[in-house]
Structures are given as C-alpha cells and as structure tokens.
Symmetry: C2
Subunit: 318 residues, 2 copies
C-alpha cells in the first residue's frame, strides 16, 4: 500500500508518499481502507521528534480516520461497513489496522472527511470533561483557547450539557466565533486576567496552557472544582499552592488519549458514541473543516498547522 | 450546660470549663448528651488561631463525639438512641446539636469512648480514598505517616479492600506498628527516598505532608494514579511538573472534611456507615485509644497532642 513515510528525522518537510507493507491484523483488529485522515497538532510534534510513538503502535502518522472495513479479521464486523476510527497511529495511509473497540459509526449526514476529523477531538473532550470531571447542568465551565479545535467542540458540548461556558482567546474575532458557538463569558487573555473575572466560579476547567496558568486556574476554581490539563503550550513546571487547592477541595488532572491501552480506549470510545454521537447526529454540535488535501501533501498540511493559519480542521483525502 | 471555653485568644492553656447556654435546635437537628468527645490535631490548631471556624458552626471545640439523643427535634430519631456524631464543632461540651445526616450508629461492641474517636478518621479516610480516589483490590496504596491516627486506620482499610499497602514513617518502631496492622512495604523516610522505592507504582496516595513531597509523590505515582492531600505538615507551596503528571494521566486532589455543607457531610456519613462500619463491627479494623481524660482537662489533652507523645487517640469523658 501507499503511506506517508518520514525520510529524515525531525524534518517535517521530509514526509513522502512511499510503498510500504499493508498492515497485518492482530486478534480483535479489522483492516480499514482509509478514505480520509484527520490532521492533529500532535502529528506535527511527532515529525519534530517531540512526541514519542507509544510502544507497539504504527510508526506512520495519523490519530483518526474514516473509511471502509475490507477485512473483518476475527471480529463480528462486516466487510463494507463504513466507520470512523480512533487510531494510535497509522492514519496517513491507504490501509490501517484498527482494534474493534476503536471503531465508531459515521455520524448521520457526515462525509468521510467530516467523520475523520471529529473523532480525536470528541473523544478527548468527552473523556476529560464528561467522564473524568463530570461536567453537569448549571455548572460553570472554563475553556482555554475557546476558538481552537478542542475549544470549539468543548463550547458546544458544554452548552448541550447545560453549563455556563466561559472562554479565553487572544482576539475579539476569535471571541466572536466563541460567542456564535454559544459561549456565555468571553475573556480576551491579552487584555484581562481570567482569574479575576472567574474567581472561585469555575467548576470545571479545560486547560491547554499548563504551567503558565496553574496559579490562576486554581484561583478561578470553585469549591469542589476540577481542572484537566491536556496541553502545555505555556510550559510544564509551575508553582502549586496546595493550601489554596485544599481550601477549594480542588482536583487537578493531566491526561492524554494516545498512550492509553486498548481496553481504556474502547471504554472511552463507547462512552463517546453514547453521549456525543447523538449531539453530532442532531447537529447540536457543528464541525468546521478548513480544507482538504490529497495524502501526498501531508508535509504541506503540517506546515500550515505550524504556521497557525488554520481555523477548523485540515483533512487528508485518499 | 458546661462546656470548654477559650478565655484567651491563641492560648491553648486558657481553655476552661464554664457554664454556657445549651444549644437550641435548627430544623433537622437533634440534641445529643455527650458521653465522650474525640480529640483531633485540628482542635489544637483552632486554639492557636490557625484553623478558622466555618461560618455558622459552634465556636466550641470538638469535631466528633458519642452520646445519647435527648431531644429528637423535628427528626424521626428517638430520645434515648445511642449515637456517634460527626461534628462541625461543639463536641467539648455536655450537649451538642447535631444535623441528623451526621449521626452514625455505635459500632458493635464499641464503648462511647471508642465510638467518639473513630468518626473523624473513618469519614476522612473513606471519603478521600474510597469515594474520591476509588481504591480497588490489587492496587498499590501509599500512606504517608502510616503510624499516625489517619495512617493506622488507612493501613487496615487498604488491606480490607485488597490493596498492597506501602507506608512511610520516621522510625523502625513506628514501621513495626504499621507492619502489625498489615502494611506490606515499609519505608523509613529518614533513611530512604520513598519515590525511589515506589517509582511509578502507587495507584493511590494519601498525603499529609504537602509541598515537601509533591515532586516525589508524582514520581511515585502509577499510570492513572490519584494522590489526595489532606495535610500540609511540609508546607503549602511546591513545584508541580504538569508534564510528568500528564505522562501518568495523574490526578491530584486536596480536601478537608470540616468545611463541607450538611448535604455533603450526610453523603459521606452514609457511605462511611455502609462501607466502613461492617469492618468496625467485625473488628477487621481495630482502634487504639491512648487514654481518656475528664472534660475539664481539655487543655492538658491538647498539650499532649502538641508534645507528640501520644500513639492512638485521646478522648475526653463527660
Ligand atoms: N492530551 C490530549 O489527549 C490532547 C488531545 C488533543 C489535543 N491536545 C492539546 O490541546 C491543545 C489544543 O489543541 P487544538 O487542536 O485545539 O489546538 P489549536 O486549534 O491550535 O488551538 C489552540 C488554541 O490555543 C489558544 N491559545 C494560545 N495561547 C493561549 C493563551 N495564553 N491563553 C488562552 N488561549 C491560548 C489559541 O488561540 P489564540 O490564537 O486566541 O491565542 C488557539 O485557539 C494543544 O496543545 C494540543 O496538543 C491534547
Ligand atoms: N483534611 C482533613 O479533612 C483532615 C482530617 C483529619 C486529619 N487531617 C490531617 O492529617 C494529618 C495526619 O493526622 P493524624 O491525626 O494522623 O496526625 P498524627 O497522628 O499526628 O500523625 C501524623 C504522622 O505524620 C508522620 N510524619 C511527620 N513527618 C513526616 C514525613 N516527613 N514523612 C512521613 N510521615 C511523617 C508522623 O510520624 P513520624 O513521627 O514517624 O514522623 C506521624 O505519625 C494532619 O496533618 C491532620 O491535620 C486532615
């Protein structure tokens, strides 16, 4: 089969379409012919040598895709079934082996391109905010980077669950996007300190900044608040005042999806289908694709992520 | 009624037995004639001005007691019922008003003295380790200060739940006590670094040290680990490496029991009765009283806590 191969270590531009062996199936896996593969910032980090591939995973890039089952292996799935897939790697290719627990239906009315690019963000946001932090109706939900890929999904999910949604972003334009998606409290982090605006009010915080916001996030936290860090765009080492955290009975988690084992991923995929797919099927959560490129243009696609010129998702079509 | 009153701010020795008004009942409360009142380190901190009394709580010391209901108020309890009580204050007295959700049965075969001094530790350890961190069979449970009041209960609970229990303590003698109670891994923190011994192994950590152990606790944490800080004997401000926490998908909570509202306390009390009382009734968890003193000797009792010469619990008899 054809797949994207990195020919020079740490050089994103060295990605090339090459002939490689088609994956063979392990027990419990199906072979999917990839029609579209979603692009994530983590892919860029991986090409730069900053995101180690988990043991046993494909060396090929790509954390999500959509396509058609062409071999069902020892599973009860059917050849010809159209699926969206959460991957541990391998999406930038014509074929990928997928553990059956990571198969998802295509949301109603979704194209392969749309389906391929909603999986990672839906599983990430739901597993952290729904399953781990347990966001409930009436709570206040603070989202950092509200206009980003994670943020735009999180805003809509928060509103669907009945939360008051607060967001941070770096421009009036981005905050307008957040407002359109339903955000209630808009904070331009270049002009205001979000911790002053939300002091003791945020029941759940979705953080992508890390160290730089740690003290402020604890300040913004409400009693019994829960902050989940999934990105560290503002560094890893911060000062934590455990006394302040204790005064709020607060909780801080930091998680990632990719390194989880198959059973854990299957648990998350099941819960995401159950809780998020109805919101996609009924268009309560909308999904924005910036544009698509052919598989061979993977290097160009990651360059655009690097440049930061994209709003919404980039997708490779195969 | 007679109760212990502090006559000089921040002076523990100024505690005196005085005549004060008997409490009047709010809706949902009963009046308990106190037979025994447990003593906690927090009481000492309160006399020193380092533990603010939550709004609306009694100014009188005492977070736990046992006794007999003498007025049932508007509740369905009965006069004459013998009860153990989780208090927000007021235990160092002849009578105390108790919200009905904070009443517990006297464990089988327990005296008032024994019952009065097991409530706070049982509710604290179970709410944090059972309810919040969800300790399960087969997991590794690290307890700091294994020979302390919290630690001795936590060891036995951990073993009853089927966990492997690791403890830290400052002497061979204290570690021997921990071993007798069932601890599997004994670490003298003056001689060894617990984070080296337990690197990546601790699924649940009960921490009473705070800042000083923060980095080491994250190092000791296993994948999906959960640390709960309930004391800060080693300071409040520590450095947190969120990257290390994320690599483990780790969670850090810091909590306290006293500031919770009545509904939250009732939830904890219910779950503690359901899950811990059978272990007390069947003597799977044993409970050690150092000695008892009359109510009038409260100042002496707190002085002994200060001196650190007590192993097990001190109790006031009324
Ligand atoms: N752990 C996981 O499992 C997992 C999974 C998926 C994604 N992630 C991580 O989550 C993060 C977001 O992913 P994404 O796909 O949404 O990326 P994205 O689309 O590039 O969005 C990032 C957003 O961060 C905002 N931002 C930058 N600095 C900020 C600051 N100081 N305060 C508030 N917002 C700020 C940017 O908005 P402005 O231009 O307005 O600043 C941008 O909208 C990334 O770090 C990614 O690696 C983690
Ligand atoms: N948040 C809450 O709701 C709540 C409720 C109850 C208690 N607490 C807190 O929990 C803590 C323990 O309470 P307790 O009643 O068990 O007190 P305790 O009986 O005095 O026990 C404290 C223990 O800490 C140990 N210790 C001191 N320094 C240590 C170190 N560097 N490493 C490991 N162990 C160390 C001591 O043992 P060595 O002599 O061997 O050092 C001692 O056994 C206190 O800080 C208390 O305020 C909090």
């Amino acid at each position: 089969m054809k797949a994207i191969v990195q020919t020079e270590e740490k050089v994103t531009a060295s990605l090339q379409l090459q002939e490689v062996p088609t994956p063979t199936l392990k027990p419990g896996e199906v072979l999917v012919q990839v029609k579209a593969a979603g692009i994530n910032r983590a892919d860029l980090l991986q090409t730069q040598g900053n995101y180690p591939v988990p043991a046993g995973a494909s060396e090929i890039l790509g954390l999500e895709c959509a396509g058609v089952i062409v071999e069902a292996g020892d599973t009860e799935n059917e050849v010809g079934q159209e699926v969206a897939c959460l991957l541990t790697g391998g999406g930038y290719a014509e074929y990928v082996a997928v553990p059956q627990g990571q198969l998802m239906p295509i949301p109603q009315g979704y194209s392969f391109v749309e389906a391929a690019s909603i999986v990672e963000v839906a599983c990430t946001v739901w597993s952290n905010i729904g399953m781990l932090a347990g966001l409930r109706e009436g709570q206040t939900f603070l989202i950092h980077g509200g206009a980003g890929g994670i943020g735009t999904f999180a805003i809509q999910m928060g509103k669907a669950l009945g939360a008051t949604v607060a967001v941070t972003a770096g421009s009036a334009e981005k905050l307008a996007t957040c407002k359109e998606l339903g955000a209630d409290i808009l904070i331009n982090y270049k002009e205001e300190d979000f911790a002053d605006v939300l002091k003791n009010k945020a029941d759940v915080i979705l953080d992508i900044i890390g160290a730089k916001y740690l003290t402020q996030n604890v300040k913004a936290m409400a009693k019994d608040g829960h902050m989940v860090t999934i990105g560290m765009q503002g560094g890893v080492k911060g000062e934590l005042n455990l006394g302040h955290l204790l005064a709020k009975r607060g909780t801080i988690s930091a998680t990632a999806l990719r390194g989880r084992d198959n059973a854990d991923k299957a648990r998350i995929v099941r819960s995401t289908i159950e809780n998020m797919w109805p919101l996609l099927d009924s268009k309560k959560i909308s999904h924005h694709i910036d544009h698509t490129l052919p598989l061979a243009k993977a290097a160009d696609a990651l360059q655009k992520i690097q440049d930061g010129t994209i709003t919404g998702k980039l997708v490779l079509e195969i």
